[in-house]
């Protein structure tokens, strides 16, 4: 068990966690301020990836394509919010769940109609090689970029939420919606804005992860669960909670996936160890959530009260 291996796996976990944060941040604000469960959040992640793949092909530049995909997806998100989601705020959670589940199906099929079942977003040539971090550890340059982007966005969000007036209103809305309304905050517009930002964040995650994974219809469903787990752990309505929760989940998942099979391999056959390892690792995230909820029923950094 070398230090290099542990370091590399930690970097992997960090990379994964930071991308999860981008999704969780938008989701937690939507839930925190408007008390709405939005299952279609994963679909925005998927749309971000697809739109980015088209824009990258159209502009011929990876950076331009990704940067343009962000406002494009944000606008789509806002249109979605104004047209369909607004009517759901007043409804009960069940209706929200079912309506947004229906939206997943609709958006999946519309994406399939527009793009086909999958799209390609190739890694930019310049970043497709490794970087020598330490003697003996050559880590993929692209993943380092992802970590850098994740940290940058986290910082930007932090500044936005804590240092600007808009951010202050957002925090007010998340902490106590009625009071914020009473104090004259235009919750409706604020919310459309928040939703747009959330969609933009999804686009960043979708576009950045696309060269590593496949861009395919249905990619949102799997990551959505993780995002929900993250915000429940982190505390609904809190961006800080989303960051801590996401990094925690990312590292637990990656370290679990990497080292549990080794641990099991000592006792069981390779095929059993390879199946049980990832299975238990995935379950570990939910166990983590259960433990956190048991100790802190409202998550680690609840925004309310």
């Amino acid at each position: 068990m070398s230090w290099i291996l542990i370091l590399e796996q930690t970097l992997n976990g960090l990379q994964f966690g930071l991308m999860l944060f981008l999704l969780a941040a938008g989701l937690t604000l939507v839930f925190g301020i408007m008390d709405m469960i939005n299952l279609a959040h994963g679909s925005l992640y998927m749309l971000g990836a697809f739109i980015a793949s088209t824009l990258v092909q159209a502009t011929g530049s990876f950076v331009a394509g990704v940067l343009l995909a962000i406002p494009a997806t944000a606008m789509l998100g806002m249109v979605l919010e104004i047209s369909v989601l607004r009517t759901l705020y007043a409804r009960d959670h069940l209706s929200q769940v079912l309506a947004t589940f229906a939206l997943i199906l609709i958006i999946n099929e519309l994406t399939r109609l527009a793009w086909g079942s999958d799209a390609a977003l190739p890694m930019p040539q310049a970043l497709s090689g490794p970087v020598e971090l330490l003697p003996g550890l050559r880590y993929p340059a692209y993943r380092l970029v992802i970590i850098a982007v994740g940290v940058l966005v986290a910082l930007l969000l932090f500044v936005l939420v804590t240092k600007t007036r808009v951010g202050m209103r957002v925090r007010a809305g998340a902490s106590n919606r009625e009071m914020a309304l009473a104090m004259g905050v235009d919750i409706k517009t604020l919310f459309t804005l928040v939703f747009g930002v959330g969609a933009g964040l999804c686009a960043v995650a979708g576009a950045m992860l696309a060269p590593l994974f496949a861009v395919q219809v249905g990619m949102g469903e799997n990551i959505l669960i993780l995002a929900f787990v993250v915000i429940v752990i982190g505390g609904i309505g809190s961006i800080r909670g989303a960051l801590v929760g996401a990094v925690l989940v990312g590292i637990v998942d990656t370290i679990g996936r990497a080292f549990l099979p080794i641990l099991f391999g000592i006792f069981f056959q390779p095929r059993v160890a390879s199946a049980a390892g990832p299975a238990i690792a995935s379950v570990m995230i939910y166990l983590l959530m259960a433990v956190v909820l048991f100790l802190r029923p409202r998550g680690l950094f609840p925004a309310r009260g």
Binding site: S2, I4, L5, E8, Q9, N12, Q15, F16, S117, D118, A120, P122, M123, S128, G129, P130, E132, L137, R138, Y139, P140, A141, Y142, R143, P211, L212, F213, A214, Q216, V217, T254, R257, A258, P261, I262, P270, R271, S274, A275, P278
Partner: protein, 388 residues
């Protein structure tokens, strides 16, 4: 029309049990969506091209090919198989890429005494103890490419090989096959999740293990992602990579590109085979689809030609399933791979070659044949098969 012969049979009232032998109905189910869609699409295109070149016929009878997408899900594949076999009453079932989906679906065909001709998946249980008279393999036994690769690794003198495959029947078969002919030490045997796309954890492990060769069996989208990430992690310059032929064919060359140059692989067919059937196939495929065929497309073509020879052999009387089986077993057709004959378990006996990824005369990336690894090679399970 991109060669899609796709029509759906209706008529609730007309569905009857007795099949009028005025046409041949083939149910083609494959993985046509998702990251591994390129494989299913290639098989389908090869198959349909063969039918088209035959004038839309299989064995002098007009052919109707129903095409279904299993979406890489065993239960979906099985449901479509149920529909084709029970509602549409197809005469042949074919198409599956992946063994797990095929194994879920073919019992439906076997129960109804419908013949399944496999254009790809051919897992070991069906070669040995569970061999089935209604199962014919037009491709190769699952282990074959891996056995050839293992032999190649032994020939090259590698001492410490690292093995990776997905955790399903074909994955298990692949590494077992490799180890059967590889005489060196196995540094590690790692099984990944089927459909997994992020290999960062496995690559970190690989780096720490420092093997002198890496053998992977990761078909379709899995392979594409692994090789890309393998190169990105800087490991491709340190560790020689060997793959089975379908791990480095056109469907992977296209998305990965130049990073594939110099990769060794083993297969039963290569695009540069110099026989009349292959020359005809490659030229027709390129003309029709504007891309180079992969080994999957070659298999799809051969499957259609095999079925054609079977129907021809019974002179169109396909209701006589026993006679049809005999005709298929005789395998009287011109395969693009050269000679073709069946073992008594209805799996092929054929040669396997060593290939390397290089450039053809037009500068395109292709697999070039550089040697023969096995001649008239069968499979390791035939002795357990009770069929004669």
């Amino acid at each position: 029309m991109r060669g899609r012969i796709c029509s759906v049979a209706l008529s609730l009232a007309l569905a009857s049990g007795v099949q009028a032998a005025d046409k041949v109905k083939v149910g083609f189910i494959s993985t046509l969506s998702g990251p591994s869609a390129a494989l299913g699409v290639d098989i389908r295109d090869g198959f349909q091209l063969a039918v088209k070149m035959n004038g839309g016929k299989l064995g002098a009878l007009p052919a109707e090919v129903l095409v279904g997408d299993d979406q890489f899900k065993p239960d979906v594949g099985r449901q479509i198989a149920e529909k084709y076999v029970r509602l549409d009453k197809v005469d042949f079932l074919t198409g599956f890429v992946f063994s797990n989906i095929m194994l879920a679906a073919v019992p439906v065909a076997f129960e109804a005494r419908i013949i399944y001709v496999s254009p790809n998946a051919a897992p070991s249980p069906l070669a040995g103890r569970q061999c089935n008279p209604y199962f014919f393999v037009a491709s190769w036994p699952n282990d074959a490419y891996h056995e050839a690769a293992g032999q190649h690794a032994t020939n090259k003198g590698y001492k410490n090989a690292y093995l990776i495959a997905p955790n399903y029947q074909a994955g298990k078969d692949s590494l077992a096959g490799f180890k059967r002919y590889y005489k060196g030490n196995v540094a590690a045997e790692v099984y990944t999740q089927l459909g997994q796309l992020d290999y960062s954890a496995e690559l970190a492990q690989l780096r720490a293990a420092r093997p002198d060769a890496l053998y992977i069996f990761l078909p379709g989208g899995m392979g594409i992602n692994f090789i890309k990430q393998f190169v990105a992690a800087g490991l491709s310059t340190d560790i020689p990579l060997i793959v089975p032929g379908f791990g480095s064919d056109q469907d992977i060359i296209r998305p990965v590109g130049e990073a594939m140059l110099g990769l060794f692989d083993t297969a039963h067919w290569a695009i540069d085979f110099d026989n009349a059937a292959n020359r005809r196939f490659v030229a027709a495929f390129e003309k029709e689809y504007k891309r180079l065929p992969s080994v999957f497309a070659a298999q799809g073509w051969d499957t259609a030609m095999l079925i054609d020879s079977g129907v021809r052999g019974v002179k169109g009387k396909i209701e006589d399933v026993e006679a049809l089986r005999k005709a298929l077993k005789a395998a009287k057709f011109e395969s693009v791979r050269g000679s073709f004959k069946f073992n008594r378990n209805q799996f092929p006996i054929q040669n396997y070659y060593l290939r390397v990824v290089g450039k053809d005369s037009q500068g395109r990336l292709v697999n070039k044949t550089i040697g023969t690894v096995f001649k008239d090679h069968g499979d390791a399970y035939v002795q357990d098969c009770p069929m004669k």
